[in-house]
């Protein structure tokens, strides 16, 4: 129990530090580029999973690889948005200011993806295609749900 409390406190401290950290303008470009690349990796991974699910004989190893990419990125996602990496950085980003002004809602949305990604990875590890098929849409909903609120439309 004591360990749990300590771990929770440490995690909370990390989160608060990450959220409070202010980026220097010259760091913002790298942060924004890196997170865009990460999101692209997740999109490609998710497409790869759905491609397999469309096939008459889905490749479970391919689905495992894709779900691992998403599960690896999902818990880190909230840290991709330090203060100063929003539109104020003066670099093209569609991240909306709401990410920082309603951090609680953004954190909830991020946590939703973590749960969905974990479930998908568990299903992928089990190798049960029906379970994978059942778990995949929640990941898509988590992605688009968050994009709807926290990402500006294209152009």
């Amino acid at each position: 129990m004591r360990h749990f409390v300590l771990a929770a406190a440490a995690a909370a401290a990390c989160f608060v530090t990450a959220a409070a950290a202010q980026l220097r303008p010259d760091q913002a470009a790298g942060t924004i580029r890196a997170r865009q690349a990460n999101y692209k990796q997740m999109a490609a991974a998710f497409k790869g999973i759905n491609d397999q699910l469309r096939s008459s004989s889905p490749s479970v190893p391919a689905i495992r690889r894709g779900s691992a990419v998403i599960a690896r990125h999902a818990p880190r996602l909230l840290r991709w948005f330090p203060r100063g990496s929003g539109p104020e950085a003066g670099i093209r980003t569609r991240a909306l200011p709401l990410i920082w002004s309603d951090r609680a809602a953004f954190t909830r949305a991020g946590a939703g993806l973590v749960v969905a990604a974990r479930n998908l990875q568990a299903a992928a590890r089990s190798g049960d295609v029906a379970a994978i098929r059942a778990a995949a849409p929640a990941v898509g909903r988590a992605c688009s749900g968050c994009h709807e609120d926290f990402r500006a439309p294209e152009q």
């Binding site: 692209k40 998710f46 497409k47 491609d51 469309r54 992605c143 688009s144 439309p153 294209e154």
Partner: protein, 213 residues
């Protein structure tokens, strides 16, 4: 003045359904209403496939073999020679062909495209990588605007015929008939069973593509 038949019903229905679909497809694409965009795109695919088959077995003025002419006939038309029959003139035929090829290509590219999140993939996008599907999505959009340019040209030509040549081309595309000019032969309609063959082929092919082949 007697009226003569110019366009059969399937050709007219195709034309006006595409007219309705174009703004709807543009809007649903622009607003990222992906599900609806994909659904309307599949309807457009079915219509285009139907029109291609109808161009082979449809009524006389719908058939490619009937209206697609070589450079000689086009030059003669530009010099002022008027073809005897009803239907597309040799120059208009080029426009019809360009519009149909562009429609088919834009729709074909859309089949393989995906949105930036990989959440709304086209029905054949599982055959290409995410990066390719994104490039194809860009081409899909770019070519759409070229298609819009050709649609503009098409509308401008119709206005030219209406205002300068006093020849209303819109009403016949609605009613299927126009006033005869004497010595003209009306179109030859295709029997109904051919329509069912073309529609059946288009639906079957669309179904196969939408299911991912």
């Amino acid at each position: 003045m007697s009226h003569i038949r110019v366009w059969d019903l399937p050709t007219r229905a195709f034309h006006w359904l595409i007219v309705l679909l174009m703004p709807a497809l543009w809007w649903t694409g622009e607003e990222h209403m992906d599900e609806l965009h994909l659904l309307l795109g599949e309807v457009a695919l079915g219509l285009i496939l139907f029109r291609i088959v109808w161009g082979l077995i449809g009524g006389s003025t719908a058939r490619f073999a009937g209206f697609v002419k070589g450079p000689g006939a086009i030059l003669a038309y530009l010099r002022g020679e008027r073809p005897a029959g009803v239907g597309h003139n040799p120059l208009g035929a080029l426009s019809v062909l360009a519009l149909l090829v562009l429609l088919a290509t834009v729709t074909g590219l859309g089949l393989f495209a995906t949105d930036e999140d990989g959440l709304a993939p086209g029905p054949l996008s599982h055959l290409v990588t995410f990066d390719s599907a994104r490039i194809l999505a860009e081409r899909h959009e770019q070519l759409f605007w070229i298609l819009v340019g050709f649609i503009g040209l098409h509308v401008a030509a119709i206005l030219f015929y209406l205002l300068v040549r006093h020849d209303n081309l819109v009403t016949p595309m609605v009613t299927g008939a126009r006033a005869g000019r004497g010595g003209e032969e009306a179109m030859t309609a295709a029997p109904a069973w051919r329509f069912f063959i073309a529609a059946g082929a288009a639906v079957a092919l669309t179904w196969a593509i939408v299911r991912g082949v």
